[in-house]
């Protein structure tokens, strides 16, 4: 049974990278469509809309970070690969906040970014304010990232 520990741990790491990346890919794509629409009419707004497009791209990076830390802890990237069933399950659960929250926050952030791009299209001087609405969503992605990292490193120090 203990041999399944590594499977769960790896599944958690992959989920974090997968859903974070998937969410960001969709989100940046949606933002890109809106940005392209604005640029077609007014190319001078490129810099501003590019930043707004890229805001939901961070979730993919966070997912990668969580996956990387998990892989280091479970010995896939070197070191001891001795992961018990319970520990593997705990690693899996530790990765879940990142996997789930990163995906949904990326999509929601994209919607906020698209709305902000619409603001910039009409009032470029409000770029700073518009960006804040989208940036607010980032808070919850960071909280999920934080809790996942704390849990993963915590599980590593438990002897079970």
């Amino acid at each position: 049974m203990d041999s399944y520990g590594i499977v769960f741990a790896l599944a958690g790491a992959i989920s974090a990278a997968l859903f974070g990346g998937l969410g960001s890919a969709r989100a940046v794509g949606m933002g890109g469509e809106a940005a392209a629409g604005v640029i077609t009419e007014d190319p001078s707004k490129f810099g501003k809309v590019l930043i707004l497009q890229l805001l939901p791209g961070t979730q993919g990076i966070y997912g990668l970070l969580v996956a990387f830390i998990t892989l280091s802890q479970i010995g896939v990237l070197g070191g001891s690969g001795d992961v018990s069933f319970v520990k593997g399950l705990l690693y899996f659960l530790s990765c879940m906040p990142a996997a789930v929250v990163l995906y949904f926050s990326a999509i929601r952030q994209a919607r906020a970014s698209i709305a902000s791009i619409a603001v910039v299209a009409k009032k470029p001087e409000s770029f700073g304010k518009a960006m804040m609405f989208s940036a607010m969503v980032e808070t919850y992605a960071i909280l999920a990232l934080l809790i996942s990292i704390l849990a993963i490193t915590g599980v590593g120090s438990i002897n079970i």
Binding site: M30, E33, A34, A35, A36, G37, V38, T40, E41, D42, R111, I114, A115, I117, A118, A121, K122
Partner: protein, 322 residues
């Protein structure tokens, strides 16, 4: 998923909304002393294609620009059929009347529609309505027979107008889009109230009114027809129980005030789309806003050409989208 289909298009429309004429420009146009000054302001705002058009050409060019833009950013233009169906039925009416009078009349057709005007023209000319869709074909046959056998142009108009309203209503419901559904509802309701009022004032038979009025959700057709047959005051009494109670005052003012009230209500309904970045609703709202803008500019230009006073022109102005 469908709400993410028009992100690019809506973003482009957001930028284009900056070019829509606001109240200040409209006031500036009304304040002009001469027609030529108005034209100059419009040309400066980028209206027209060559910068040397006559008023009619200028307005037609602006309508073309709107539809060309929408055609450029939306793959499937059929989603906006609701907004073009009225042109089809107008062209059908024109073609039947032209065939009946048996002479060529220029500039009576709309160039844009869901069916090419040549197809409608030939269908009427050859008396072969199978090339049209079932609903339009059936209505065309009935209107054709009525006009050619009785010469009753009014009944011919009534048949086509009712069919047009039904087609618009059905198409909007099919689209499932809030803006188009709202547009169709107001379009049919305003046409119904106008018909009920005219029938009441001219003492038309109940059968005639029934034949002219189309179904819609905000009006109870039976009550509308009953009250119309009973008299104008009864009609007003019925309208008090509908969402159009406020229009009674406008009806009492003038027919133009009635039209303005409905146009302003539509603009009020579509205004929230300025803050919506998803779905096709902002695109439909933009088309309606442009049509409203063109209509308003037409009123101003005609007013200036006919030397109407500024106050007379202002009375006829619509609220703007931006």
């Amino acid at each position: 998923m469908t709400e993410n289909m028009h992100i690019y298009a809506v973003a482009r429309i957001r930028s284009r909304e900056l070019d829509l004429l606001g109240e200040s420009v409209i006031n500036q146009l009304v304040d002009c002393n001469k027609f030529e000054e108005c034209m100059k302001i419009l040309f400066d705002k980028g209206w027209g294609k060559s910068g040397f058009e006559e008023a009619d050409e200028l307005l037609a060019a602006e309508s073309d620009k709107t539809w060309d833009l929408i055609g450029e950013i939306v793959e499937d233009m059929s989603i906006f059929d609701t907004l073009l169906l009225e042109n089809d039925y107008h062209n059908l009416k024109a073609a039947i009347k032209q065939a009946y009078m048996n002479r060529d009349i220029e500039k009576i057709y709309f160039s844009r529609g869901t069916v090419k005007r040549e197809i409608i023209f030939n269908a009427v000319k050859e008396h072969n309505f199978s090339v049209l869709d079932e609903k339009m074909g059936k209505c065309a046959e009935e209107a054709y027979q009525v006009l050619f056998h009785t010469g009753d142009g009014q009944l011919c108009d009534v048949i086509i107008d009712k069919s047009a309203m039904e087609a618009i209503y059905e198409k909007a419901a099919e689209s499932g889009n809030e803006v188009l559904i709202d547009y169709a509802e107001l379009k049919v309701a305003s046409a119904d109230i106008k018909i009920a009022l005219r029938c009441s004032r001219t003492g038309k038979s109940r059968e005639f009114t029934e034949r002219a009025i189309a179904e819609c959700a905000t009006l109870d057709i039976k009550s509308l027809i009953d009250s119309s047959a009973a008299g104008e005051n009864e009609l007003f009494e019925y309208l008090l129980s509908t969402p159009y109670a406020e229009v009674i005052n406008e009806i009492k003012k003038s027919p133009a005030a009635f039209e303005i009230w409905f146009d302003n209500l539509l603009i009020k309904h579509i205004k929230p789309q300025k803050y919506n970045s998803f779905t096709m609703s902002p695109l439909a709202a933009y088309i309606l806003a442009r049509e409203n803008e063109i209509k308003t500019v037409r009123i101003i230009l005609l007013g200036k050409l006919n030397r109407l006073s500024d106050s007379s022109i202002r009375e006829r102005l619509r609220n703007m989208y931006v």
